[in-house]
Structure formats: structure tokens, C-alpha cells
Subunit: 442 residues, 2 copies
């Protein structure tokens, strides 16, 4: 009965991905780079350690002097100086001499072994320098070198972090150790989120008769922000073409004049008489609408999925636009299946499609024939492999009829879900114990 082309989830995800390319790259300070995608290999400018470094607090000595030292038969050396971490490597011990050395300090010329202070007659160091007072030390054990050779960890020119990773604190600390103050990353995607629907009121406003709170724009804006995007949010655009056109043009200018990389709308794509996104996308193909030149590449498609069947793709004045359905659970699964990979491609993730992982159904549920089913599920144990539908029928109030079904279509299920099960189109029932494939949620 629909005139739209029918697409699979995978086909529609491909169509959505084809709308975008990675954002430009630029160097950013390490402190600001975590969460961004590295756009160029981090190549070490240094050897690490950059010199032969002491691995212990102790005495730098000549191995020839101390070869046979034991506790019973120690070798006594004259202490001729100190070398602390941060000191330049200087003159070293001559034959029969030792230099006090601290962890991380450069091993002085001539020395090739560090004897830990615990393996000497000194036992432990008092704070502060020796003050040049002549002392001796008895070496009890020099069987290990305790020297980290120059370049042991990294050589100048080594790739220490490879392009394509989502940077963590660990990665940026390695970049610092390799001599860098900045790393080159993709710019954060600029994303405008609009929810449409004359029934919507802003979160926290008491809805009047027939109205409900706008939760979709909150959901998608927060999801995009958590995925690394800079987000502008416009909630509750009314169901009139003029209002939508004005809102779309408004968000084009909302990033300090820079064009957004992506528009994401919810609602208005279904078969209703007031479905405003549909009206605008349809109107683009008819001469004479005020926005006929603004919309290009418009496609309204029926995706073989439940929920989330009606989906739209287009460009608004050249900016890619993903038009999602308005039911909150539909909007959510559409974000995870279609918008998140687009955001990941924008921000430079080399493989933006997330792999499904194998789990086991702890409960059964029915599934529609002919459409892939998306079910909000939760793991029953923190490190477990069993999942169950995240929605729960409420305990019926006195006089109420108990409700049935998985409840995964409910907004409240979003609060409990940590994954989305993707049930193939040919499955009509998931039985307890069945293997299922899920998309893990962040």
C-alpha cells in the first residue's frame, strides 16, 4: 500500500553512510583530544628512554669492579658523587668508585650497572644530597644491571599510536611520551537535532490536553553529544511545512555561521495527513513549493524493520539529513542503526558499522514475519551473556487489565536497556535459550 521503495536495514544504513565523508583534520592539544579519532599516526620524535636510565635508586658502578660481590664478600667502593633524575649525564665513576644514582637518572659514562641501594651496606637513602663528604659503600649483589637502555621502549620514528583509534587517556599519554604536545584529529561533527510534532512541549513544561513532553530531541542530542558531536537542538517544531522550513534554515546558521555536517529530525515521516517531513520531502519533487530548490536527493523509504519502518534521507541546502520516525523507541533504534554509523564516519572512525555480538535469550518473545525486529534488551548479569527484554509490564493497578508483550516499545524501557536485539526477518518467535545477536549500547 506504500509507494516507497522497500529497503533492508543494511541497505538503508549504506544509503545513509553514503551521504557523508569524514570531517577535516587539525592538530589539537593532548588535553582536548580524548574521544576524538586520530587522523594521522603518532610517530615518536624521541628515543624512550632517551638515554641509558637507572631503573632503581642505588649506585652506578663499573661491572668489572663488582663482578663477584656477595653479602658475605662485599666489594667496597668510594662514593664520588650524586646523579639525580633530571641531571645531565656527567662524569662517571672511575675504577673503584661509585656514583649515587636515582631512578630515572642517566647512567653516567663509565658505569654500566646500577646496584639497588637495598643490595648495599647503605640500606636506604636519607633525603638530600651527600654534600660531597667522602663515604664508601659495600656492594652486596650486582648480578642484575637495572639499566633501561636508550630506546628500549620506543625508537625515534616508531609509530606509537596508529591513525583511526578513538583516543583515550592512555593514547594521549603515549603521544606525550613520544615528544608531542598535539595530535591530529578529525573535527567534532556539527549536528543539528530537530524534533517535529505539534503535540510536543518542552521538557519540564506541563503538557496541556493532547500534548506530551518532547523527549526525542533530548535523546538524540544527548546521544550525538556522547558520540563526540557538537550539537544544536531544536525541540517541538510544529507540524506545518513553513515551520519546518524555518527551523531547518535556522539550524544551518546555529554553529556560529559554520554549516552543520548533519541534520537529524524525528517525526513526520509516516502516513498521516499532517506528516510534515514527508510533505517537505515530497514537495521537493513538485515544482512550485517554496522549498523546491532546498531539498535534493530526497528519499522516503519503508525499511523492513519493526519498529522504525518509515525513514527519510535527503540533503537540505546540501547538508545531509536523516529523517527518523517520531515514536521514541523507533527514533532510538534508528539512531543506533543509521545515525551512529554516520556520526562515526563523520568523525573519522575507519569502520563505522558496529558489529553485532552473540548473546542468549533468557526469555522468549514473538517477532513479526518479514521484518527485522529491534528489541530493547538488558543483560541479566554484569558480565553475562543472557539478555531479556528491557521493558517490563507494570504491576497492574487495582481494576486494571494486565498488559502483555515484551514492553520493549515503551519509552520507559529505554531506562533499562543496555543492548538492542536484532531478530532476523524470517524469525517469528524467539524462544528462551535461543542465540540472538545484539548491538551493545554505550
Amino acid at each position: 500500500m506504500t509507494r516507497e521503495p522497500r529497503r533492508t536495514i543494511a541497505q538503508h544504513a549504506d544509503d545513509a553512510l553514503a551521504l557523508v565523508r569524514p570531517t577535516p583534520t587539525a592538530p589539537v592539544p593532548l588535553d582536548a583530544a580524548v574521544g576524538s579519532v586520530l587522523a594521522a599516526d603518532v610517530v615518536s620524535t624521541l628515543d624512550a628512554p632517551p638515554f641509558d636510565a637507572s631503573a632503581m635508586d642505588g649506585y652506578a658502578v663499573r661491572s668489572a669492579d663488582v663482578a663477584g660481590a656477595t653479602t658475605a664478600s662485599p666489594v667496597v667502593l668510594r662514593v664520588v658523587g650524586d646523579v639525580a633524575a633530571g641531571d645531565p649525564g656527567g662524569a662517571g665513576p672511575g675504577p673503584g668508585e661509585a656514583v649515587r644514582i636515582m631512578t630515572g637518572a642517566p647512567v653516567p659514562a663509565g658505569a654500566d650497572v646500577v646496584v639497588p641501594v637495598e643490595r648495599t651496606s647503605t640500606g636506604r637513602f636519607a633525603p638530600g644530597a651527600t654534600g660531597g663528604a667522602p663515604t664508601t659503600v659495600a656492594i652486596h649483589d650486582a648480578s642484575r644491571r637495572h639499566v633501561r637502555p636508550c630506546g628500549e621502549d620506543v625508537r625515534r620514528g616508531d609509530v606509537v599510536v596508529a591513525a583511526g583509534v578513538v583516543l583515550t587517556a592512555r593514547h594521549v599519554s603515549v603521544a606525550a611520551a613520544a615528544g608531542h604536545a598535539t595530535v591530529t584529529v578529525h573535527r567534532a561533527p556539527r549536528v543539528a537535532v530537530l524534533s517535529t510534532g505539534s503535540e510536543l512541549v518542552a521538557a519540564g513544561t506541563a503538557p496541556g490536553p493532547g500534548r506530551i513532553p518532547d523527549s526525542n530531541s533530548v535523546l538524540l542530542a544527548a546521544s550525538a553529544r556522547a558520540a563526540g558531536a557538537d550539537v544544536v537542538r531544536r525541540g517541538g517544531v510544529g507540524d506545518a511545512a513553513g515551520a519546518l522550513v524555518a527551523a531547518l534554515d535556522g539550524v544551518l546558521a546555529a554553529f556560529d555561521g559554520a554549516a552543520p555536517d548533519l541534520l537529524v529530525s524525528t517525526g513526520g515521516v509516516s502516513a498521516g495527513a499532517f506528516d510534515v517531513v514527508r510533505e517537505v520531502l515530497d514537495g521537493a519533487s513538485r515544482a512550485g513549493t517554496p522549498w523546491e530548490s532546498a531539498v535534493t536527493d530526497a528519499r522516503l523509504v519503508a525499511v523492513g524493520m519493526q519498529p522504525g519502518k518509515p525513514q527519510g534521507l535527503a540533503r537540505w541546502r546540501g547538508v545531509p539529513w536523516l529523517a527518523l520516525p517520531g515514536n521514541p523507541v523507533s527514533a532510538f533504534v534508528s539512531f543506533e542503526l543509521f545515525v551512529r554509523p554516520v556520526l562515526d564516519r563523520l568523525r573519522g572512525v575507519p569502520e563505522p558499522r558496529r558489529a553485532l555480538v552473540g548473546r542468549v535469550a533468557g526469555e522468549g518473545w514473538p517477532s513479526p514475519a518479514g521484518r527485522e525486529q529491534l528489541v530493547l534488551v538488558r543483560h541479566t548479569a554484569p558480565d553475562g551473556t543472557e539478555v531479556v527484554p528491557a521493558g517490563r509490564a507494570r504491576e497492574p493497578r487495582p481494576g486494571e487489565t494486565p498488559t502483555h508483550g515484551s514492553g520493549s516499545h515503551r519509552v520507559s524501557a529505554l531506562a533499562h536497556a543496555d543492548a538492542v536485539a536484532v531478530v532476523p526477518a524470517d524469525v517469528t518467535a524467539v524462544e528462551p535459550g535461543d542465540a540472538v545477536r545484539v548491538l551493545l549500547l554505550d
Copy 2:
């Protein structure tokens, strides 16, 4: 040889946790709440849906009129009006009448069934209102109600998100749907990170002889920030008590005058002659040091772990202070074992200790007797259970002696690790195929 008390990892983690309590709570806008810990249950102020709502685009009718309708024997009704999403519920259809209704609109009085437009002679709606022109519709199938009853999803007074969760986009969207513009969360912890060591130069600065880049303060600041903290970072504090005291007092004033919740330092806790944190903590127990009144509860302990044995705990002018060792891998594992749980307690996570999870060693490695060993590891497959040490011996250059061992003590291993294996103190070798327990990294 050490005079410090010997503690297990678990004991030291307990001591660290005992230093702090959760931060104060306050309401924050939904857009700013993701990542914070919910401090009070979110209770719905609304029924959801707040009225009997149409689940489809179609016709609201009286069930008595359409009970036996089929395609072969349709029931023809007179269309008397429209109700769009956002319209207040108004007068409904009388007997023999239908009202066009859109998804999400209130079902008008009198109607108790919605017939989807695809199940009628209309097939699909043209955009826009009917304009009041008298029309009829033939109903082909009214076997399902397609009405979402008031309160089906949530009842006013229901707890929709429970205190203690780390808020995601999904949680805040459910809070919006439940009538809220704000949620009550714990304030972000204020954390000051200081790295000590006269050998340290700022990231990106060419280190002179004997110097190395400061990567620890970059690592810990970024880790704390990713864990939800507001962070002030002071890198490369010199190895002199006066410099450390000045740096500690400096960061106390760095949060616009508000006291930090936690100080974290690296370095200076070992047995060297210039170990400045040790000097300050030791000095606190001796009358006459300029800082004797600033340091309280000072403890220098030897934790039975490798790496990371020397650890310090104290309060500086009342602010909890965790003093970590300076080797970068030691500092990192100390953050994960001791600092992260403290941050989680500060920000209100009810159970701040992270559970270890079971994995299988894909390679073997030696482990010291008598100390728990922390090994940076990586998973060999994205959804797999096999882990191997994350450090790799570099290919030796011509003329170099190949290095041995897991390499997990190397800074560069931080770039490859996605977990830390915790090997019990009584294990001296992990063999390929052994079960190991790991701490998963973010």
C-alpha cells in the same frame, strides 16, 4: 628493608576509599546531566501516554459500529472531522460516524477503536486537513484496537530512573518523558593532578640531557576527566620540598576558590634521596618542617603489587591526597586500582569497586612470587575472551640484542592495552590457556 607497613591491593584500596565521601547534589538540566550519577529517583509527574492515544494514522470509530467489518463486507461511516497530534481531545464520532485521527493524537470521546488508514477504502492520506467536505470511509478490518491507553507506559508516581545510575542519553530522555527538565545529580569531583620530577619537561618541549617528557600528568588528568571530574593539572613539579608545597597550595586555589575534592600526585614516593613526596609526608611527622601542620593522616605504604609498590595517602590542608609512584605504568595501574574507585565514590557511584571479569591467557608470562602482578593486556578479538600482554618487544634493530619479557612495563604498551590482568600473589607463571581475571579499561 622498608619501614612501611605492607598492604594488599584490596587493603590499600579500602584505605583510599575511606578518605572521601560523595560530593553534594544539585538539580542540573537534562542536556548537561549525561555522565553524572543520579542522586535521587526520577519519579514521573505524568501518566504516559497522558491520554488514550492513537497508535496509528487512521479513523477513530465506535467498536459497536464496525464489529464485523471485512474487506468483502465493509462498514461505511460518515467522516465528521479530523484530530491531529497536539489537538485537545474534542467531540467524538456519533453512531455511524468516524473521525480522521493521526498517530499520537487523543482518541476523541465516544471512539474506542482506531482503524489504520491502510485497512480502509482511503488507503492513504493526502497531506492536509479535509476542509470539512463531507466524505465517507469504508472500514475493512477493525479487529485490533490500535489505542495506547492512558498510563500504559508509565503512571504518575512511578520511579522511571533509579538513583545511583550513571546517566546516559536514554535515561535523560525518559526523565523528559516523565515531565522533568532537570535531574538531581552529584557535582563533578574537582581533582588536582600533579606530576613530580625534576627530569620532566612539558609535553612537546624538546627534553635536554637527562630529561624526559611529562606524560603522567597528561595520563592522569585525561583519565580523571574521562571519569567525570573537573581537573586542574600541574606537570613537572621539581624535586624540592618547597616546590611541592607551593604546587600543592597553588592547586588548592585553582578551582575558582573552591577546594578540590582530591589531590593526585605521581612520583617521589620511592626510596631515592630526592623523593620529594616522601620527604613531605615524612616531614609531617617531624616538628619544625614548614608544612608540619598542613599534612595529616600521612601514610607511606608498600603495597604487595608489581608494578606500583610504593604508595602514599594523606590529607593536605584537609584535602584527600593519593600519592602514586612515578613510573608511567605504575602510575596507570595505581589510577585504575585506587584513584578510579575514589573518583567513583566522590561522584556518587553506589559500588565504586569495579568487578574483575574472567578471561583466558593467550600467551604465558612469568609473575613474581609474593606480590599481585598487574599486566597490561589486550583482547585478541573484539568480542573475544582471550587476552595477551599488550606490550610487544620491538623488532630488534641491526646490531641490537633482542629484548625479552612481556613488555607490559613499557609506556608504549599503554597504547595497546584494553584491560589489566590481576595475577594473584601465589602465582609465579601464567601459562597459555590459564584463566585470568582482568579489569576492563574504558
